[in-house]
Amino acid sequence: MSSQGPSIGVDEWVARSGERRGYSPGWDGLLERINDRVNWWLGLALAAGIGFAFGQAGFSSFVMQVAFNALLLALLAVGLNIAVGWAGLLDLGYIGFFGFGAYGFALLSSNQLSSSGVHLQAWESVPLVMIGGAILGLLVGLPSRRLIGDYLAIVTLFFGEAFVEFTNNVAPSKLGGPNGIFGLDPIRGFGSQIISLKGYYYLMLVLLVVTMVVLRLLDTSRTGRAWRAVREDPLAASLMTVPVNRVKLMAFSFGAMVAALAGAAFAAEQTNVFPTNFDTSYLILIYAALILGGAGSMAGAVLGAVVIEATYDGFLRSPHWAGVIFYGLILLTLLVKLRPWRRLAGVLVGTVVFGFVVYAIVHAISPSATAGGPQSGGFVADLVRNWVIVPAPKAGTIPAGPGNLEFAAVICLLIALVQLRGRWRSILMIPTIYLAACAWESRLVGQPSITRVILTGAVLIVMMNSRPQGLLGVRRVEIV
């Protein structure tokens, strides 16, 4: 066709968009190619099979809890993807819908509403909660008819905040105030109930797969195309007779419905709900999962959720795995990003030698400054024992000051690194990596609950700046 020129009625730019869809060079491109080749349904079946096998593998209850949380986060990320990824509406009140689902289920399955309580079966309460969530999503989405972009983000953000304030303060006898609601029924219906963690894991897996199938059908339908049209250009979409307002409301409503479903499952598994379950930090975690995987891609949302939850709740909590993840990530980043090979080898050898030299010098000056061992466990700790500087523990704990200073220095060095190019960058990389290792061993690894939220923030900043399309997302061609 290129020899004959564009056909009548087909804009050449549009007709040839496939040819412009280039793959990035190197590892990124490989990832994109694999993602393009694998059939979506086959991928889903494979992933579901892996999920099923994981449940059968007989892991400890800690691992199963992390796995359940990962699936929950994945379901939430898939729901958030509808508004944010497909329709391009920044919904910062999403956590409110999740909370609504959880509180709705809690009220319908506990003694909270009256003395004898309301104890609906799950097949009654969950659809009720989902319909309620969809209506709430419609109401919160109403401003999207007039407000665009940032203004919509503001209104939805305040909806989320208002939800937490509401559950904390209004009608404490019914909503429980800060103490929340506890003693919920498990998911039950047709004479049976789910009480085991494993049961909830499978329930979550089924919910996730079913939701993904429904959303996939929706995404490839007229509605899905309309969402993307509105995302790219609402004005052009409305000229093409897309009912822009209705399409936006649908996106909000579907997202809220998925979130409410996730909330109900969450409340039933936890058997209690508290206002603090629905604060902004969890919202940011959902966003981090979606952004890491790639907004606009359901597979990406699931991948991002699993990676984030496994890292934050699983690996970081075990000192052994935390070390493996930390050093592994640094090595992997260097391997993928640093070229030519000679420079890579230089930086690696340089870092190792630099560490031993610094250790020897500091040890000669003041033995107590190196007296504390690394806080990671396992073979990683043995590897770095005489390499990183960790001050001597006082009264059982390692002092926080030096680790904090090192962490601050690492941030300054990273900022300097972004500015430098060429040889100086490689040279500066050596002390940066070494200091990061010291800060990690003497401070960060001992505070997993703080470290993981700092990492969440860093993930958002770094991903947005270096790879806004995420791991599996499609890079968008900006139309000017």
């Binding site: 944010v84 391009g88 920044l90 401003p143 007039r146 407000l147 972009g149 940032d150 203004y151 983000a153 503001i154 209104v155 305040f158 909806f159 905040e161 208002a162 304030e165 509401f166 303060n169 209004v170 004005l235 902004t280 930090s281 940011i284 966003y287 981090a288 952004i291 904090n404 962490f407 601050a408 900022i415 972004v418 401070r443 960060l444 505070q447 703080i450 470290t451 939220v453 700092i454 969440t456 923030g457 860093a458 993930v459 958002l460 900043i461 947005m464 700046n465 806004p468 968008r476 900006e478």
Partner: protein
Amino acid sequence: MHKFIQELVNGLTTGSVYALIALGYSMVYGILKLLNFAHGDLFMVGAFIGYFVIQWFGGPAALSVPVPIVLLVMFVLAGGGVGALGVVIERFAYRPLRDAPRIAPLITALGVSFFLENTALLFFGASYHIYNTSDFIPFSSGIHIGALDIDMARIMVIVLSVVLMIGLRLIVNRTQLGRQMRAVATDREAAEMLGINVDYTIAATFFLGSALAGVSGVMWGLVFNSVWNYMGFLAGLKAFTAAVVGGIGSISGAVLGGLLIGLAESFITGYVSSTYTNLIVFGILIAVMLLRPSGLLGRVQLQKV
């Protein structure tokens, strides 16, 4: 009557702090069209700088230098330090995204906010840090008539805010830098073509806005005594409400909005109940957004295609 005046003064104090934070939000939004969610956390950093200055001079009860000098150092260090931090954040988190889709810098701003809050948690712990203002600005030095108590710190905060607001207004309206800022806010590309250094102007805007946040952090510490790592979130939300109610992007709007929110909060707490304060303030915001999205003093933005 005493109660009314008391609540009025309380409201003016919180209101002027909110107004100073809101000014930063508004300036940054005006020039970059970016909602800088990290702005509230800059306020928190300022409050911590003030706290450590007090500790550095020997603690609130035993200051080694005269009180005015301590206050001066607190305000200058907090303003300068936080201003510099704001410039660094702009340079490394926001500048690469200047031409990206609008959603990208917003999410980055969320990330920066989260990063700052939790880095502060790592550094300073989760406990409240207490300024103990009454140890060096005695309670008796204020105005006391019957049941009415207006302490010196509050008077100082109100006076200093007024001075800062007038100063900012002069900078924006009367100086070369202010003219550049207005030009970049109106049309960045055209400003660039006219030879204005856009990067410098935006960095300067971030410096001014963040410095105001830092100073207001110290004010908060002096009046309310306790600072902690998550304080920036709620104060940031309130200030943000103020900026939006007044009309985001408008400087006088931010001041008006800040005072309104401060007074509303104070009177609701005093006369109704403190339980519903935040809920009502958020309700005001949502109502304003729905009824008059451009705010009280904002101009309606025409959408250009």
